[in-house]
Symmetry: C2
Subunit: 333 residues, 2 copies
């Protein structure tokens, strides 16, 4: 996945999609080869055809073709715990030499031992604060280097793949397909924006300014005569549930016409998207494939899919069964 | 200024700029006709040539060609007071029927009489709170409609032009020129993001998600079974001075290589931009033309240009004299 090749390709596809009045050779190739010819693929292709046909009532101008994607569990895997959580645990281990008190202090002690349930036992806020501490006290540029490196070199326990290769091949095809049809694609994630930006351009073709996520406070200061941005150990914005709709308005400023998620954290984003006028696509990825990936929904602590699944049935949103609707999960290596 | 024509044009120009390896007919037309052939125009063209020439050490890949523009006083006028301030005063007058107490309550009383100095006498915070109140208590969509209409119909006292036509023609050419060379152009303004978004796409070809500005808090809620975003009368983020650099990181996530401002509020943005590695363009618009526009700098309450002007001299930033370097100010009507 070479950045400049992806960008040029993305640019060309955007142009081809945007200038749909130019005659093009018929697209002989399947744009979504990792999707089986089942309901979700048909729904996606029908939606795109509907909004891109000039002169029809459902036509949507290019500048309004906004598509938002959750990240964890929608664009890449999230089990057994969010990858940023794994990253934070590695940071705690690395920094622990300078913090002997962590050996007995919770949640650090449990996190270093990999006992996540015990770490979470005292409440999520403690863990969030601990993660926040490992992401602060450095410049934004230093953090970017650390995250960039970890995501590309560290491998997960089950698949033995680098984290950056635990992205979903069908969703990468979907992102490309939407951009080829004039859509602007955004990530709208509960995860940290700076963490996602460290790989989203290479993995998904999504530039940093199209990543909306949770964030910590920043401080602009001079080190000698060199300006720098310091990451502070304080949460600024949590981009989850209601916060995703707020984040969409703050960062994108326009209601999406298509939204993609996998958990209750995405329910409001899909609800907001679906409630707009005209054709809308609201899609949930349902993790149903314990063999090739993971199977979980209502009872999972990570990526809980419960209320949003009920709403999907009620509102007739598109639900992807990874087992039945995808013929590939991760990119070939 | 038709939106879809602008968008298609912008898309084509982006492609032509991005795919600079494709042979193009020599650009016979001057891309910056409203700029005199003086220092600033030469500096801009030399900078763009330098960063877009493949195979040279100064070449900057398309995805890193980020240019940020202040809005008030840089892309459109800002005297005798910020236009959003005029908008807020009109809102106060309109809402005053339901608020009889405002007739004696400051700063409302002074604002309704148009006595800005007296309104500001008790401190800026009171005025900011009053403006904030006029921008809240409605949905984001209702606010957008109100702002969109006001900016296109209300005329200023001196030039008798609609506010949307008080944009600077040379800067519009500059935005187009940068985009034609593969730049992604952003507004980074102390003004309200939602207010600027109501006209930036039509006036500048800048879509809502590329507008970074100050903002109020939002609340996602259901009205019956219809979701809505309510604007709350509380400031969330002030995108000015240090805040502009923080805003750039939060919203864009990448350091600009070119930045354009006109006041001390832009100093940190230009400093941050200029401090990056490789070629950089930091430019200040100096208001020197009392005949065609306004002349002000160090002593002006609006758009104070004092410390940033000293820094521009010290750091050899480009300074545009509107009187000497621009042969047109506003678009022809």
């Amino acid at each position: 996945m070479n950045i400049s090749r992806r960008l040029v390709r993305s640019l060309v596809m955007t142009l081809l999609g945007g200038l749909s009045f130019i005659a093009l050779p018929a697209a002989a190739q399947d744009p979504l080869p990792s999707w089986n010819d089942t309901g979700p693929k048909k729904a996606i292709i029908a939606f795109v055809a509907r909004v891109t046909k000039p002169g029809t009532p459902d036509f949507v101008p290019v500048n309004q073709r906004i598509a938002t994607f959750d990240n964890d569990g929608t664009l890449w895997a999230e089990q057994p715990v969010y990858f940023q959580f794994e990253f934070a645990i590695d940071r705690i281990k690395l920094l622990s030499a300078g913090h002997p008190e962590w050996k007995t202090q919770e949640p650090f002690a449990s996190l270093m031992e990999g006992d996540i349930p015990r770490a979470l036992a005292r409440g999520e806020q403690d863990v969030v604060d601990a993660i926040s501490a490992t992401h602060a006290g450095m410049t934004t540029e230093a953090f970017d280097r650390i995250a960039r490196d970890w995501i590309r070199t560290k491998r997960d326990a089950r698949f033995k793949r680098t984290y950056i290769s635990l992205v979903y091949q069908p969703m990468i095809e979907l992102l490309d397909y939407l951009r080829a049809n004039g859509f602007k694609t955004f990530i709208v994630s509960g995860g940290g924006a700076e963490f996602i930006r460290a790989f989203a351009e290479e993995a998904y073709g999504i530039p940093p300014d199209q990543v909306v996520g949770s964030s910590g406070r920043l401080k602009y200061q001079m080190r000698g005569d060199v300006p720098e941005l310091l990451k502070l150990p304080a949460v600024d914005f949590i981009n989850d549930k209601d916060g995703k709709v707020v984040g969409i308005q703050k960062f994108i400023g326009r209601r999406p016409i298509a939204a993609f998620g996998n958990s209750d954290g995405d329910q409001q984003m899909l609800e907001w998207t679906a409630a707009g006028k005209g054709p809308r696509l609201a899609l949930l990825v349902h993790h149903t494939d314990a063999t090739r990936e993971w199977a979980y929904d209502r009872d999972s602590r990570i990526g809980t899919l419960d209320k949003a699944l009920d709403m999907a049935v009620e509102k007739k949103w598109t639900v992807v069964s990874m087992k039945d609707d995808w013929n590939a999960i991760f990119p070939k290596q």
